[in-house]
């Protein structure tokens, strides 16, 4: 029967394959050492930039993190982060007032990054008097008023800075 013949051929082939697979294999004792050396050589041949890309990436990420941390306090502009105040002292409530006929008054100084838009004064009920409340740490602050968005005026109730670097009248406020 042809089918029986084919089965015999397949059985014979299978026996030979199994016999071959069962034959003991004698490995060279130095094979492991050679294989490991080949792996090391292969790693050395790879482009180093690729191998250490993670190092540069990690450094860049760390640098960006440091940059963000350094930048955070510098971008504040809050009246509670004065330039000359001692870092650990508590803030004090300070009211700044100016009597002036004006349609708008703002105060600029070391306590608000000299930003004309940061600290507008509000007119009080008695008319002609403008005021604003600040929270400042003990220290010495330079400041001036901006009247109607175009005229600088010092604070008549506080000492003037001894020398003005930029021509405008600048007052000095000492907070204890």
């Amino acid at each position: 029967m042809p089918a029986d013949h084919d089965d015999e051929l397949h059985d014979e082939l299978l026996r030979r394959v199994v016999a071959e697979l069962r034959r003991p294999v004698h490995l060279d004792p130095g094979l492991d050492a050679r294989a490991l050396r080949a792996i090391r050589d292969d790693q050395r041949r790879r482009p180093p930039a690729r191998r250490h890309l993670w190092l540069a990436g990690t450094a860049l990420a760390a640098g960006l993190l440091v940059a963000v941390m350094l930048r955070l306090p510098a971008s504040g502009g809050s009246a509670e982060l004065p330039a000359v105040a001692a870092g650990t002292l508590e803030t004090r409530h300070v009211e700044i007032r100016l009597s002036a006929p004006a349609s708008s008054v703002a105060v600029v100084g070391d306590f608000n990054d000299w930003d004309p838009a940061a600290t507008p004064l509000q007119p009080t009920a008695d008319g002609g008097v403008w005021s604003v409340d600040l929270q400042l740490k003990p220290g010495r602050y330079h400041y001036t008023f901006l009247i109607d968005g175009r005229r600088w005026e010092g604070d008549p109730s506080e000492p003037r800075a001894t020398k003005s670097d930029f021509g405008a009248p600048v007052s000095v406020l000492t907070v204890s």
Binding site: A56, A59, A67, A74, S75, A85, V108, P138, F166
Partner: protein, 198 residues
């Protein structure tokens, strides 16, 4: 390998250098002035001087409409004054004390006055006494007389509020109010200290 480590280090430091350029400067000053002021700020920081007063000085100039050269000159002058203040008070003084001391030197007070005040205050904050001393001179009190009065308060261990009160009294007196001259009060007229070096 060395090249890569250098690259990694540069990658680490570059963002720090960019952050060191204060964003407020780049936003408020023209690029050339911001760069020049940034160099001054960096060098001051490396020398251990406070940098925030320098940034504020530049922002003051920008807001008051000064040109770049004037802003640069003002910041450079302040760097020098902060350095002299540190020379006077030593490395233990904090940024606020150095800033106040720089203002005092700018007003014409001698370094020796700051050193004597520091010695009398013995580890207590110096900001307010120095600021009041500077304000008194700004009000027109002769530096020797102002120094003697402030040193006297410091010697007695008076709190900061009393220094400010002294300045208020002087201000009122100097501006024509009828309050008695506080510098004539016996407690504020010490003769123990030698004249201040000028």
């Amino acid at each position: 390998m060395l090249r890569l480590l250098t690259l990694g280090l540069a990658a680490l430091l570059l963002p720090c250098a960019l952050a060191a350029q204060d964003q407020r400067l780049t936003e408020r000053l023209d690029p050339a002035t911001a760069a020049a002021v940034g160099v001054l700020v960096d060098s001051a920081g490396q020398a251990g001087l406070p940098t925030e007063p320098l940034v504020q000085k530049a922002l003051e100039g920008s807001t008051l409409g000064a040109n770049g050269d004037r802003i640069r000159a003002a910041v450079a002058t302040l760097v020098g004054q902060l350095g002299r203040a540190r020379d006077a008070l030593g490395g233990g003084a904090d940024g606020a004390e150095l800033t106040a001391a720089a203002g005092a030197l700018r007003a014409g007070l001698p370094s020796s006055a700051l050193r004597r005040l520091q010695a009398l205050r013995s580890n207590r904050p110096l900001v307010v006494p120095i600021a009041v001393l500077t304000d008194l001179v700004a009000e027109g009190v002769p530096p020797d007389q102002a120094t003697r009065s402030v040193l006297d308060l410091a010697r007695d261990g008076r709190p900061d509020d009393e220094f400010v009160a002294l300045r208020r009294q002087v201000q009122i007196q100097r501006r024509g109010a009828r309050a008695p001259d506080p510098l004539d009060r016996p407690a504020l007229k010490p003769a123990a200290d030698p004249p201040v070096d000028r």
